[in-house]
Amino acid sequence: MRKYFAIAKAEWLDALQTRGEIFIWLFLETLPIFIMGSLWSTNKSTIPNFSTSQLVTYYVAILITSRLTGHYFDEGMQKEIKEGTLSRFLVKPIKFPLANIPQNLGGKAFNTIFLLVPVLVIIISIFRNQLIIPSPQILFFFLLSLVPAFFIQYSISVLVSSAAFYWEQSYSMVHIKWMMESMIGGYLLPLTLYPNWARIVTDFFPFKYVFFVPAAIFAQRLNFSEIGLNILYSTLWAFVLFYIGDVVWKKGLKEYSSVGG
């Protein structure tokens, strides 16, 4: 366990080294919420199903969810696999790619304190009259829904990384993942705004449990039975994807070869 803690600490220190960049990320993270908040605020009288407050709160929740559950190692890992430098991780006495989890948590701890909290302060000050403050109960269920979301994101990143074992053009898979998250995950728009047939399509993929479900819980769009059911489905997806990711990665490793000392 100590070695994984060391990985998390190293990531924290690495983030600290580039702390100046935080100001730019701060701006870039605030921007989409500001745009979407402004967009829906101007159309407040005509939105069916969603109140303006719920929509603004939804995007704030998307930001929190994305910051707390996101995994970004897939692109880098694909590069390591293609260039053969993955070997340096394989010879270490750590479980790989599981070691990405403590690494991710180390970076997240830094980003939550120095990025997420200031962004939330800015957003709350801009949209203070439109935000719905969740009750402790809702907040608990929201945080609970982030746990399976975190592992779904991790497993999808492992699967995307594994594509590099088999396919030369695998970098495009990272974009496919972003597209899926954006459109059928509810990152860009709440899925309740979609036509019925499109909403049915999203049910067949795990992406909605990463963004839409936690954000809808936070924005108080789901009742307690819907929350329970969605967290259950989300947990099932997390287990299934974790298993598939593990199998695909191990199979991919058998295909992997590299040269050099």
Partner: protein, 261 residues
């Protein structure tokens, strides 16, 4: 002038050779780019299923400014991004000396090193959207096509100049490696009518950081909502900003101390 056209011709030929060396890569990225363009349109279509207009813009009318932004994005991500993101790295590693010592304008050299030709699909889709936007709104005429061409050139120059000035600050803040990310992500603002923002931000986005005039002003002119004389606004702004970017680069270079040996 002839020398610079010849130099750019060389860069262009090299980019074609590089892209054609990996044809499968090229095709896959073309597809990815087309998918992003489709997602962009679907995003607005879904919003407009929920609300009748976005600040008075129906989907048919929105196609035109979205086409402008699509073309602009092809220039931003295809011609500019690769160059802009390398400037902070060059300053950090001292590679900038290489360009300063060459017998050509250093601003030109650092701005034209890389070309991403896979963005050609974005460019073509943008042209199609502009043509379709003009046709569907019954405003397709030689005069309007001229307005479109002038506005597109002005938007590209404005974007380049602002972005280049932002990146030039890396000569002072060399540790901010992500400074090149600020502008292309902020262009997202230009996809929305400026009327969705509050009056203060509307002023900022029109006169200080003129995102409003990149897509929606030309569309306003062509759709007969604004006088054609307003096209001189972007043209004037493009000329001034290009000149300022040049002056600012030369000023910044006087404060540059090399990091190389």
């Amino acid at each position: 002038m002839k020398k610079y056209l010849k130099l750019y011709g060389h860069t262009f030929r090299l980019a074609i050779m590089k892209n054609m060396a990996y044809p499968q890569d090229f095709i896959v990225w073309l597809i990815v780019d087309i998918l992003w363009s489709v997602i962009n349109l679907v995003f607005f279509k879904i919003i407009l299923l929920s609300v009748p207009t976005i600040s008075g813009w129906t989907f048919e009318r929105l196609i035109l400014p979205l086409g402008f932004i699509q073309i602009l994005n092809a220039f931003i991500w295809g011609l500019m991004y690769g160059n802009m993101k390398e400037i902070p790295n060059d300053v950090n590693k001292g590679n900038l000396d290489l360009y300063l010592s060459k017998p050509a304008n250093s601003q030109f050299l650092v701005s034209t090193r890389y070309l991403g030709l896979n963005l050609i699909s974005s460019f073509l889709i943008g042209i199609f959207l502009v043509w379709y936007g003009l046709s569907i709104n019954n405003v397709l005429s030689i005069f309007n096509v001229t307005i479109v061409l002038v506005a597109t050139c002005a938007s590209v120059i404005i974007s380049y100049s602002i972005w280049f000035m932002i990146v030039t600050t890396s000569l002072w803040f060399s540790r901010l490696k992500n400074i090149a990310e600020v502008f292309p992500h902020s262009v997202d603002i230009a996809r929305y009518p400026v009327d969705i923002f509050n009056p203060f931000m509307r002023f900022i986005f029109t006169f200080i950081i003129p995102f409003a005039i990149l897509g929606f002003l030309p569309a306003d002119i062509v759709l007969n909502k604004t006088s054609p004389w307003y096209i001189f606004g972007p043209v004037f702004m493009a000329t001034v900003l290009l000149y300022l970017s040049h002056r600012f680069w030369n000023f910044a270079l006087r404060h540059y101390s090399s990091a190389s040996s």
